[in-house]
Symmetry: C2
Subunit: 465 residues, 2 copies
Amino acid sequence: MNDSGAVLQHLESHFQDYLFELIEFASIPSVSTDPAFKAEMVRASGWVAARLERAGVPQVEIFKTAGHPVVFAQWLAAPEAPTILIYGHYDVQPPDPLERWHSAPFAPEVRLVDQEQRLYARGVSDDKGPMLIPILVAEAFAKTTGKPPINLKFLLEGEEEVGSQHLEAVVRENAARLGADFVLSADGAMWRAGVSSVNVSSRGLLSLEFRLIGAGKDLHSGRHGGGIQNPLSALAKLVSSLHDTEGRVAVAGFYDRVTELSSAEQGAIAAIPFSDAAYLESIGAASTFGEPGYGTLERQWTRPTLELNGIWGGYTGPGGKTVIPSQASAKISCRLVPDQQPDEILALVIKHLETHCPPGVRLEITSNGHGALPYAIPSDHPGLEVARRVLRQVDGREPLEARMGGTLPIAESFKRLLKLDMVFFSFSTGDEDFHAPNEFFRLERFKKGLEAWARYWLILGGQDT
Amino acid sequence: MNDSGAVLQHLESHFQDYLFELIEFASIPSVSTDPAFKAEMVRASGWVAARLERAGVPQVEIFKTAGHPVVFAQWLAAPEAPTILIYGHYDVQPPDPLERWHSAPFAPEVRLVDQEQRLYARGVSDDKGPMLIPILVAEAFAKTTGKPPINLKFLLEGEEEVGSQHLEAVVRENAARLGADFVLSADGAMWRAGVSSVNVSSRGLLSLEFRLIGAGKDLHSGRHGGGIQNPLSALAKLVSSLHDTEGRVAVAGFYDRVTELSSAEQGAIAAIPFSDAAYLESIGAASTFGEPGYGTLERQWTRPTLELNGIWGGYTGPGGKTVIPSQASAKISCRLVPDQQPDEILALVIKHLETHCPPGVRLEITSNGHGALPYAIPSDHPGLEVARRVLRQVDGREPLEARMGGTLPIAESFKRLLKLDMVFFSFSTGDEDFHAPNEFFRLERFKKGLEAWARYWLILGGQDT
């Protein structure tokens, strides 16, 4: 048996163990956005570091940051071969709303759904499953050929879901140690389970939270109703001014820097098998809605958005309460495309809120962050070529060129600080309900990811498979 | 010492005991709107019935209803004298938001604020303090003169804060036993502590809860943003269509039946000492806001409103979550004035919501209720004349004619079912933060209420004081 055969066989024969390990990993509620889970974040980073050591990776370190820890590891045992920097994250989204989960979000459960075996738990698809793959593949090489065919560096963070706030400082401080040929990302879902694709771009992001304050206290709506502005009504007026009735963002200047697609880019998107009807059925919605003049995929991949992620105020419990609350709040995020700048768009949105704030309430910006530039990789990047070749092998068909509507905040940081492009090679897919209740990861994709990562390293190391 | 002197002295000398009793009563979290407090509602009704018995009221009963119990009692010991039906309620508003209370809502605390002794607790002003007064006054007569100078019937309910849903059935079934000359209400706050006034009208009420449903599940705003309608944006558009930018209700037909004030009525309102500046300072708001063409008191007392009482949807916890939620909800209530009909206005509001529902979401009316007609009492009603005379005695000045912006849903039921008018004689006042955090009841008003109710009964019983 040659090297590739031994590694691939090892991966296949140990799959059941890997599944149990992913279940253990996904049982840790590593919710980065909520301070209540701080200890769990430390526990999760410790789990990752220990797993890397057990895999045989010789150098493993935990970088402390002002936020959650970053796990760094390296195995430089192939002097003639390329070096890749593997990126992933061990933090997860909050599981709310809990009542919508069919099984507890941190009690992973394998269920057969639509004739597929799926593991259900918060974070299994984004990004614990995909992130575990390169660690397991490194171990498979350690146990069979003794070492990987290329040089590996791992950078596994705990703040992806909160905008990778402290990763940039880590990258800057350790720039010399992080040198590589490119970044191979275990994050950034592929298009669909049944379609081969490579990702060539992701959207940027910014977020903003604000509130409108009326009276200094909650008031009885009978006694006071009619006399003063209701912050809930004011909030509705203000946030509804952010879009026109057709779905265009109505913030002045919002689209000024947006570049339109070339006809080649439009053609690549048109080549993706996609039907509005099937899409709507998959998400349980009745109709598409959004900026006129663009198809659904164009809008989701190449057009900027402004979305409300949460609004709240007043009495929201069971029954009624005749109150005029003293304040009302909203969380907003924008997805950005080339060449929008997060700071500039943030300033435009704040200016819009200030300009359109209704009378009788006071606007307070309570937080803003999550600034991330949009990202794109050249279509002929060598790392992308290897990805295409592996996908042809494991999927038996030509991969299409897809994009990500979502954001990898650090793609742009790696480019700017380390001059490294990022190749997305996650084996989660965009339909696995990450960021929503009942997130799942397909076991078949987990298995395929293990094979694909092993093949990728073999090809990149010159050991043709 | 004559009868009135003995009763009034008894009340004065026992005030400290009464305060402790009100503290005990207000410690029971009798929140009618929330099913979690059902047992506390039973406890509170038992407390009231036991207190009536201890006061010496010979007949005390608890009427079971499909909702919370109603306490009924009667003392018919003055065959030649008039009979009054005393109304009050032992249920309270939910205490949310809890974090805004300076002391726990159900741990009553006496504090000296603005040189007044105040008892702070949920429900002390609305309506436990005022409701306890006639029970204590009955006891004072029992302990001094042996019996009250008029015939008393008590009807003390537990669903005022949820629209008195089952009281109408109780009134209908017991119509014969509830016969009286008029209703004397211990609910329905007076205008201000430093001003004498009688209430001549209250507004009606209806409430409505609805949600907008988009996709069948929460979606990642990166993957899906731009492709489908966001229920939060749709909710904002829809509820902001309910008012024009100046604060008029924009529901077609909403004002059609509203009668304009006569110049005499306008004059009575203008006679009330009121300044926008002082009002705004008292509630901590920067400016008034509402229907153009009317003063603040006119808008709050004689104009109908449509208020948002709560809106919610998406992620509202700490940090961010890039989600497009599957649904967004709102609670609405309307205050109604003569001659608006709750059913008709409810239908108009629902029709507006249906007509203006944005594309890409589905409207679902999740509940509606709380229908109550507006109410008005003739300005020369004999029960009102007695109230004016008592207020001249206890306050030493001529009472003004005030109105209630709030609603007493049962005022209209008593009128329709029993042909009884209702005289408001509560000693809470409109500035005591009922329905808001830090509700309080002034001890001086508690004391004055005891004296005033005793005098009222004496005058009505022909024993001039």
